[in-house]
């Protein structure tokens, strides 16, 4: 018996599942509220939700526009440093002018500054990169620009504290109440912020704007023929996808109460790529699941071996080769084909539903290149 259409749609709504996931995360991370033991490893759960937002923002570009950015950690680190600098204050001399600021406690101002910085940088980059590149070229260029941000945070010691970064960032007060110092409270605060941001992201993706992004992903040229200014949409998508990592960075600084240049490194950029792919990149829930699975995996494997990254790499490589649709793809298969069919034929070749917007490189051992009527 299937529920009525409306109820069914509500039941399968990604935001409902997102909320359920966030409610469940503290349990999976080891705490047990039923026995009054809240703290557990709630820090891991907080990490998961923050990176869920980071990966979702990245996935707006990767999964929904089809552009693989290998430098999204730059927006994360910009948001994080803006917050830390606002909270801790700074005093530097730039070209003879003294820039100084005392400590700040208003987290909304910190959020605004994070967003402003990330938006400006993203807009500047988008204007330079988007009209000039796409595909793997785009990936390499974003990676290189992220290095500029990374080395700035690394080398500008007067402002950023260099390799050690900025420490002792105070947790903000919530409308004057000092409640966020407790890690459980902070988890619920972070989960709520991330959930609100994800609602906005969902709204963006479900809007006509989101549909155009999907059209661009599937076939850039056709989207252009339909009259859409493809580059304008890609610039907007790029800037929007910088917003969510910046919010994640804002939360990250307050959560860690410290920040160092690693947050902008190639590793962080790569991690969200892995999370998105593990979860399922063309879906809304994918990056959320991916972030949770990634940190759960890291948590388990790193207890067994200090070379845990290798095992994460192995899992990732297996997914790239055998299941590029990620965990959501597996769930989708089970739902459409049933468990029995999957078990009967577990190594069924999974054909990825993905765009082939690069027509230059045809598969080599498929379809004769010479048609009946002659050379194409």
């Amino acid at each position: 018996m299937t529920p009525p259409n409306r109820a069914r749609r509500l039941l399968l709504h990604p935001l409902l599942w997102t909320a359920l996931l966030f409610l469940a995360l503290p349990w999976t991370a080891g705490s047990d509220p039923f026995h009054g033991q809240w703290s557990g490893f709630v820090g891991i759960a907080t990490t998961m939700v923050i990176f869920a937002l980071f990966a979702s923002g990245f996935n707006l570009l990767f999964g929904h526009v089809g552009e693989l950015s290998f430098g999204h950690a730059m927006f994360f680190t910009l948001g994080a440093y803006a917050t830390a600098l606002y909270a801790n204050g700074f005093n530097v001399t730039v070209l003879g002018a003294v820039l100084a600021h005392g400590k700040g406690d208003n987290m909304l101002v910190a959020l605004a500054l994070s967003l402003l910085l990330a938006l400006l940088w993203a807009w500047l980059l988008a204007r330079i990169i988007i009209p000039r590149s796409s595909g793997i070229y785009f990936s390499m260029i974003t990676l290189a620009f992220a290095q500029i941000v990374f080395f700035t945070t690394y080398r500008w010691s007067d402002l950023t504290g260099g390799e050690d970064g900025l420490q002792n960032v105070a947790r903000p007060t919530l409308f004057g109440a000092d409640v966020l110092r407790d890690s459980d409270h902070f988890y619920w605060f972070a989960a709520l912020c991330v959930f609100v941001a994800l609602c906005v992201l969902y709204w963006i993706l479900a809007s006509p704007f989101g549909s155009v992004l999907h059209a661009i992903r599937e076939n850039k040229q056709r989207a252009r023929f339909l009259g859409y200014d493809v580059d304008k949409y890609r610039v907007n998508a790029f800037v929007l996808s910088a917003v969510f990592p910046a919010i994640a960075g804002w939360l990250w600084t307050y959560f860690q109460q410290a920040i160092n240049p690693d947050a902008g490194s190639v590793e962080y950029s790569g991690n969200v790529v892995m999370m998105s792919l593990l979860g399922g990149m063309q879906t809304f829930m994918g990056p959320l699941l991916g972030a949770s699975v990634y940190y759960e995996l890291q948590n388990e494997v790193s207890q067994a071996t200090k070379y845990w990254e290798a095992w994460i790499g192995v899992v990732f490589v297996v997914f790239v080769l055998a299941g590029p649709r990620g965990i959501m793809g597996i769930i989708d298969d089970v739902r459409t084909n049933g468990v029995a069919a999957i078990l009967r034929n577990p190594f069924k070749r999974e054909e990825p539903v993905e765009p082939t917007f690069d027509e230059a490189l045809k598969p080599l051992d498929e379809s004769p290149a010479v048609s009946e009527t002659g050379v194409r």
Binding site: L68, Y137, T356, L361, P363, V370
Partner: protein, 311 residues
Amino acid sequence: MRRTEGLPSYPRRERLPAIHLTLAQLTDQLVNGITLGMLYILVALGLNIILGLMGVINFSHGSFFMLGAYLMYQFNGLIGFWPAILLAAVLVGLLGMAFESVLVRPLYRRIPEYTLLLTFGTALIFAQIVRRVWGDDAVRVDTPPYIPDSINIAGLAFPFYKDVFLVLLTVVILAGVWLLLNKTNIGIIIRAGTRDAEMVKILGINMPLMFTVVFGLGSLMAGLAGALAAPIYAIQPSLASEWIVLTFVIVIVGGIGSFWGAIVGGLLIGILTSLMALLWPPAVEMTGYFIMGIILLVRPRGLFGVEGLFE
């Protein structure tokens, strides 16, 4: 992880006003830059040939460079300096061929981003394997005692292996690669394949085999660069991630799939990076990225790039 340790060791001088630079310092850094540039060229050219022919962007290319250096370190004690360099390069080349035929080949049907994802994953694995086998600490290789420490040219002393031998050897290797690409049948197939792989296949060429061979050749060049660089730089697991990003930058600056692009890009970035060590040390690591930004504004496809390749 400290990310600056494995970077080429520029002399950390005090910040000097430009007028205080002596000619000796300038020549010193210029020659330093040429050495650095030559190694960049070797690594970037291998990556560029693979990228041009196959559209495969190999994130593990830096790992192959690192493996070349580590294998050189491993064999140096066993079979001597020169055989170790050769063996390390050949082994990395063979590894590249196996890598291509087992892991990369299933991905040709998909969009090129997937090879980037795959090779990113394998780069993680390679880094951890290296940590497991050779440890976290940097290792060093010494040049054999019969190689002179320095050589006097026009009254200035230059480190012999680093600034003279390595540069000359790289020039010879590059000449060899140029001859291979331009004067042999394999080279003609590679260059034609860069333009249109499908058409070359129609002409009866075994392209899957060519792909494996070219991937092996590119990896061999990375391995050779690593082995040659082993006596100069500290060999450590972070070597791979540092070199791969700069290699990407050189490919972008030079232009995808271009032989001369890799050479000009590598030299440009090597020399300017070294000179930056004199002018403004904090910005040393960023030099390459700024050059890339400028080039991108002026010539979006790079200095020698062709429009419409892999987009």
